[in-house]
């Protein structure tokens, strides 16, 4: 009887494992496996690009006056005399320990540099994407609902300008008008010069750090500095998001179920938002995720114009200075962001679209 009882208790456990836990575990394992393989591929490609690029990290360190002996010494210090495959294996090992090496140009650990510049980009990109979503999605829906009308034309024009205007041009003009002439916003930099290093860096996000420190002056200064570049990035996201939203909505609004709903007397609000919009959420997630990933990768020109010490300008400067450890470290982080956002999108699909489960 005891054995029977045990078997009876085990059966539901096994069933629970087979029916519920195992599928979830399988998804987790396959996701982690997929991330690992993608990361390995990314590391391999960035490493190879770093080796075939016509830049010389040794020259970047020793300068053009260095003697051959000094050049050779640094060449060996960087491990460039070892076979490429050995260098790659060492690199993988280091990355697994979150060690991207030392920046050959400023002698600091690359991981520390990234920890410093990435929050700047994260803060800017997050506010930018929020602006893009909050304005772009309603604009796209509005344009689709009013297809062919002046509202649609204006929405399309706004998107077209966003697509076609060079960002550095728009950034400089924005800076000139809102900072130079009107004085409504702060100038280049993350915070006013008097507030540099005033609040302790906890998260690296100045707005958050200022709030945590309860320092409103710094918060206001940081906000006045971020509002213009974030709006600029938001505008570019808006252009993409609104066009895609309009396109997805037009497809849904011409579907038979929408006509049926209208025939049945459902209000236009419900038809648009509760039926048509509900069905584009999955596609929209992809668009937003891609847009956000693009911003997180760092908008180099925006960062340069606004002297924003983010990851985009960090990688670009590193590339131009032949600081390959920094380039590889930055690229790996950007690649990781893409992968994680993809995973997040997949998870959201499953929530919003039961067919994807």
């Amino acid at each position: 009887m005891a054995l029977t009882n045990e078997s009876n208790e085990e059966r539901p456990m096994r069933a629970l494992f087979i029916d519920r836990i195992w599928p979830t575990l399988k998804v987790v394992i396959s996701t982690i496996g997929s991330i690992a393989v993608t990361m390995l591929g990314l590391l391999f490609i960035t490493f190879i690009i770093g080796r075939v690029m016509p830049i010389d990290p040794v020259l970047a360190i020793v300068g053009e006056r260095a003697s051959q002996a000094q050049y050779d010494e640094v060449y060996q210090q960087l491990g460039l005399d070892r076979p490429v495959i050995v260098q790659f294996l060492f690199y993988i090992w280091d990355v697994l320990h979150l060690d991207f090496g030392i920046s050959v140009l400023n002698a600091r650990p690359v991981s520390e540099d990234i920890a410093r510049v990435f929050p700047a980009t994260l803060e800017l990109a997050t506010i930018g994407i929020i602006i893009g979503i909050v304005t772009g999605v309603p604009l796209g829906v509005l344009a689709a609902v009013n297809k062919g009308t002046w509202i649609d034309q204006i929405a399309r024009l706004v998107a077209l300008i966003g697509y076609s205007m060079p960002i550095f041009w728009l950034g400089l003009i924005g800076l000139l008008v809102f900072y130079g002439i009107l004085g409504w916003v702060g100038g280049p930099g993350r915070v006013g010069i008097f507030y540099v290093d005033v609040v302790p860096s906890v998260t690296g996000l100045i707005l958050v750090d200022a709030l945590l420190d309860g320092n409103w002056d710094v918060f206001k200064s940081a906000f006045s500095h971020i509002v213009l570049p974030a709006s600029l990035l938001g505008y570019y996201s808006l252009a993409y998001i609104s066009r895609m939203t309009r396109s997805f909505m037009l497809e849904q609004l011409s579907a038979e179920y929408v006509t049926t709903a209208r025939v049945k007397g459902m209000s236009e609000w419900n038809v648009v938002w509760k039926h048509a919009f509900k069905n584009i959420r999955v596609q929209l997630i992809t668009v937003i995720a891609l847009s956000y990933a693009g911003l997180l990768e760092g908008s180099v020109l925006t960062e340069i114009i606004f002297s924003w010490p983010g990851i985009g300008s960090y990688i670009t400067t590193a590339l131009l200075s032949a600081d390959m450890n920094a380039v590889l470290g930055g690229t790996v982080v950007v690649g990781l962001i893409f992968i994680l956002l993809n995973v997040l999108s997949d998870m959201l699909y499953k929530i919003f679209d039961p067919r994807a489960k």
Partner: protein, 532 residues
């Protein structure tokens, strides 16, 4: 940003500014100096290793040296600093410095002869790139302790042979001559690195300022050194902010959020000059733009061809167009303001003269390759040369590439022609004479890649080699000046180098900023004399 975009931006900003007045500008605090500059070249702040402009600017304000160049009187040459006096031995090989009393480091430790000896020994032993400046005196990691000694309040430096005292003291004004706090530095030593890792991002000096923070590609912040024993500077805090874009620097300056903008392009310089409340100051810097003709090329090595090329450069045309305000014509290997620098400019664009010289050399249908690093000014110079050379029937093929590609080929003596920029390493004429006009062994085996003359494959005459060696040991200042004048004349007439331009730095600043000096050709920026 390309030239078109740059122009477009400047025109737009200029037009908008002229149509509407700027919003009331804010002023930086009276005791704070805020500078916009490109500081992404800072690799390290350790004076034994630092060799870049922005890093040397920090070092100049944070460290003192045995002797220094007074930013308010650069023409006077070196003056006593941490050493209050010095004596030279009869054989001219030993200099004994008497250290000034009562000076302290930012840590509060006293500055001693022992610190000075340690600093110079350390720079030699670490053997980083700028160590060659001290290595010229025969110092090696092995003999540094023997040649550089402290004895109580005295520091003695013994060189391998007699050198001009001015040569040694000029070298000691360079960044590598900075005196660091031995106690503090050695307390931060890791694995026998003599504090190199720590000093890359920290300072231990006795200068007017101490470093508060250096955030790469972001900012450098300095504040008053509380233990500084000199006159208290008016600027208690100095912030150098990394602003890449010229237009952004201009807006910050016009709005009054910064005091000085150091990287404005010619269009923005013209724009701010027209605006009120801002002034522009020019200073000659040490950088020379030059062409090098490969001495191993069978045609380019002919004396008439070398001379012909010197008449095929449109010096005036380039200076007044794309180099406007940024470079001035200069045709000698010593930058103007250097001891013994010649200001002779015998060459100008003369196609007919060049044709005569080429005919004398029997040149016909010549086709050569010029290597140019991807920098706008250099590419435009190469294009100008392409145009003038075409007028005498020479075809110039331009190869543009990265430093690795182009510099690598120049160092390997593979290029027919190289368009280069050279900046002096220390404020003594030997810095350029020793590389442009000195090449004792031109063989491939010598592999003297540090010498421009070797890279160019120039068989320098024994007479000129000897003259360069003699000038560096000449004790009499006037004789030394004459020797460099003579070397420069022969160099102009015979060398395969065509020195064309000397750099001008234009700093735009608020009108109330006084006494700011970028250090001209001989040194770096000084913040302590600035007042507002």
């Amino acid at each position: 940003m390309n030239v078109f975009n740059r122009l477009l931006t400047s025109v737009a900003i200029g037009a908008a500014v002229s149509m509407s007045s700027m919003a009331a500008y804010a002023e930086t605090p009276a005791n704070m100096l805020v500078i916009a500059n490109r500081i992404d070249d800072i690799i390290t702040i350790d004076p034994a290793e630092s060799f870049e402009f922005a890093g040397s600017d920090v070092s100049r304000n944070v460290y003192q040296r045995l002797v220094y160049l007074d930013p308010m009187d650069l023409e006077a040459g070196y003056k006593p600093a941490l050493a209050e006096s010095w004596e030279v031995s009869e054989d001219g090989k030993t200099i004994t410095f008497i250290m000034r009393e009562g000076i302290t480091f930012e840590s509060g430790n006293p500055v001693r002869a022992e610190d000075a000896a340690f600093s110079l020994q350390r720079a030699v032993i670490l053997n980083k790139t700028p160590s060659f400046i001290l290595g010229q005196f025969g110092f090696t990691p092995e003999n540094a302790a023997e040649m550089i000694k402290a004895d109580g309040n005295k520091l003695t430096i013994t060189t391998d042979k007699k050198y001009a005292t001015s040569f040694i003291l000029n070298c000691l004004t360079a960044t590598i001559g900075a005196i660091v706090d031995k106690e503090t530095v050695m307390a931060n030593e890791v694995d026998g690195d003599m504090g190199n890792t720590w000093l890359k991002t920290n300072t231990a000096g006795s200068g007017p300022y101490k470093l508060d923070s250096w955030k790469p590609n972001d900012s450098v912040t300095m504040s008053l050194n509380p233990n500084y024993t000199g006159d208290k500077p008016a600027m208690e805090r100095v912030i150098v902010r990394h602003v890449t874009e010229s237009a952004s620097q201009r807006l910050l300056l016009e709005r009054g959020d910064i005091d000085i903008a150091r990287n404005l392009n010619p269009e923005d310089i013209a724009g701010v000059t027209a605006a009120g409340g801002v002034k522009v100051e020019d200073e000659l810097k040490g950088h020379l733009m030059y062409l090098a003709l490969n001495g191993k090329h069978p045609v380019l090595s002919k004396p008439e061809v070398r001379q012909a090329f010197k008449y095929l450069v449109d010096y005036e045309g380039m200076q007044n167009s794309f180099l406007n305000g940024q470079y001035t014509t200069h045709q000698n290997f010593l930058p103007a303001t250097y001891l013994g620098a010649s200001t002779e400019k015998p060459f100008s664009l003369n196609i007919e003269k060049a044709k005569e010289l080429l005919a004398e050399a029997g040149v016909e249908g010549l086709e050569i390759e010029a290597g140019v690093r991807e920098a706008q000014e250099r590419i435009e110079i190469a294009q100008s040369m392409q145009n003038t050379l075409a007028q005498v029937g020479i075809k110039l093929n331009i190869t543009v590439g990265t430093a690795k590609q182009i510099l690598g080929r120049y160092r390997a003596r593979e290029l027919d022609m190289y368009v280069g920029i050279w900046g002096p390493d220390y404020p003594d004429p030997q810095t350029n004479a020793g590389t442009f006009a000195y090449n004792p062994d031109n063989s491939d085996e010598a592999n003297a890649t540090g010498l421009l003359a070797w890279r160019t494959g120039w068989e320098v005459s024994p007479g000129m080699n000897a003259a360069v060696e003699a000038a560096v040991t000449e004790g009499d200042r006037d004789t030394r000046i004459q020797m460099y004048q003579d070397i420069q004349k022969e160099f102009r007439d015979t060398s395969p180098f065509i020195v064309m331009f000397q750099r001008i730095e234009q700093s735009a600043m608020r009108e109330n900023v006084m006494n700011f000096s970028t250090g001209q050709a001989v040194t770096n920026a000084a913040y302590w004399p600035v007042t507002k």
